[in-house]
Symmetry: C2
């Protein structure tokens, strides 16, 4: 539709599940994005934990994905690989338009190295898109200010509920509304574990099975103790509610101590138990934020969520009650949020 | 948050249910919009079917609403009323930044007078926001081109499913995705009638009750024969799928001939019957578009809709299956889409 082809030079840091799927997606959609938006996204550099690869002409996405699937580092790419080069060094070395930051979430480590990647890219005048919760939880206000100062954009729609545009809905479509209450089921892993418990597994067995299919983070406490849901709630509070909440503000109860008998009874009676993140507006205009396992009746908008589903409910003054749900059988939708964010910037 | 106050001069044409609620909303939210967005929306003119009122300093919203509630025309406003002035004359006479077009839907009459209002405003370099389906169904492509030619914006998020941002979701958050299928329940009235039938009413009684609470359009066929749902599907097809569909392309079956025994049986067995609008991508890349009463099982994402709820399901290649639902107890959310659209333009 566009007359002129725009070439957008992308740096991708983080080549785990999301990063690799994103590379594959850009390769698969290349012709379509050119035809529909006049946009040619060129991956001029990529980094993983062992090194990087740089090519101003563009790295071949399919070659890169195949290499990673064999368990090798991107640094092994012939001719363009740089063994030991870090993400930060890469950002200093390369001329690019946008950073896609998909390194692992390490909130307990000050959200590094992701936070430094994002700071550096913004300071270099690059747009940033990221599904990495850590930097947004710890430094949302600073990063938004930094982006504004440097005249670039920061987008992080993938940080809250995988491929569900929960943030976009709140920040764009509900502007002008007063939000009385947010309820979200923003995490698949805890639902998976809860469903296993319902079906007869012990907590240890359920956790083991979740680990076996790769559903748990390196630190299983992150999901099970509700930190992941709390982090997502903090992002919603900051970006949608304009509240400067921190992880410490969230009254947090995970699923480890859930009573299995009550859980099975609830299920038998048609109520779904999920780890629910809630922000509720109080009389004084502040919001109480909490994460806890809750029994959702079947007529609750989140009460029929399947195993691969997440959702969010916004209760508002002028837009009624709006619910958004996603069925996400693979992590592809989560990876695709980086494309959504890029098209929000360039489309 | 914004340092500078921007004054946006608005013309509103159409002072029915939506128009009046919008006026009230602008009055209620005035201080908040100034504080949050640095935007002062000033209603410099308004028109209904009997006349208009013009005030460069801004009409008082609450006075205007009170007048309309007494059944009078805006032309009766002391000092500023212009008896007999049409919307078109108003647009020629007034200097303004944006038109809010909320006149009644009259597709069978060539979508007039709404279509001419929108054309004229765009040609005068005004942005246009509208929940009026008619002009978009009949002239989407022309109006989009006209807006582009004059460097202004046209927004119509309220045309599809009341206050649900069904269009925004499709046009913004699903960009870059291939949409395999859309299923929508975009109409409250037919659901209301179907539920009355389930509860024992005859079709005539149900239609009478729907009319009595003001749920039916002046022409009840518009809802009951599926024209309203078909119009909304055509807008989705044009704006989201990029398909130039027309009302004639929609295979349309309304609810008049629904078999009441089957309906009650479905309900007793936990299936919800709703008039569903479907766009399905075919092998050849085109979309089959249809509207018909369908039995939705309780595990269908639209299968638990309540009496005041509408919804849409997008099945996509890269974002999984995304569902959005709205519970809209009053028409306020539909009216508020004009504010959403204005903030999309100015926010």
């Amino acid at each position: 539709m566009e007359a002129q082809l725009r070439r957008v030079r992308i740096v991708l840091i983080g080549l785990g599940n999301l990063g690799c799927r994103f590379v594959g997606l850009l390769a698969d959609k290349r012709e379509e994005l050119i035809a529909s938006f006049g946009l040619e996204f060129v991956l001029v550099a990529a980094a993983d934990s062992k090194g990087a690869a740089v090519s101003p002409q563009g790295l071949d996405g399919r070659t890169l994905v195949a290499l990673k699937e064999r368990g090798e580092s991107v640094a092994a790419l012939p001719g363009v690989g740089r063994l030991g080069m870090t993400g930060l060094q890469l950002l200093e070395a390369v001329d690019a338009d946008a950073l896609c930051e998909a390194s692992p979430v390490h909130i307990e480590a000050g959200a590094e190295p992701g936070l430094s990647h994002i700071r550096t890219a913004l300071k270099h005048g690059m747009h940033v898109v990221t599904p990495n919760k850590g930097p947004i939880v710890l430094a949302h206000q600073e990063l938004v200010a930094l982006a504004r100062e440097h005249g670039v954009m920061l987008r992080f729609d993938g940080t809250v509920a995988g491929g569900l545009p929960a943030l976009n809905l709140g920040t764009r479509d509900l502007r002008g509304a007063l939000i009385h209450r947010i309820e979200a089921v923003p995490n698949l892993t805890t639902g998976f574990v809860l469903d296993l418990l319902v079906r007869g597994a012990t907590m240890d067995e359920a956790i083991e099975q979740a680990g076996a299919i790769g559903a748990l983070e390196a630190d299983p406490n992150w999901d099970l103790d509700g930190w992941d849901a709390a982090a997502k709630l903090v992002i919603l509070a900051k970006a949608v509610l304009g509240v400067d909440a921190s992880l410490q503000d969230v009254r947090r109860e995970g699923i480890r101590n859930v009573d299995v008998d009550s859980l099975r009874k609830a299920h038998a009676e048609g109520r779904l138990v999920r780890l629910v993140a809630i922000a509720e507006r109080l009389e004084d205009g502040t919001y109480a934020v909490s994460v806890a396992p809750i029994e959702l009746p079947s007529d609750h908008p989140l009460g029929r969520l399947g195993e691969k589903e997440m959702g969010i409910v916004y209760e508002t003054d002028i837009f009624g009650r709006i619910t958004a749900l996603i069925n996400e059988p693979t992590p592809l939708p989560s990876a695709a949020t980086m494309l959504r964010d890029l098209l929000d910037i360039y489309g």
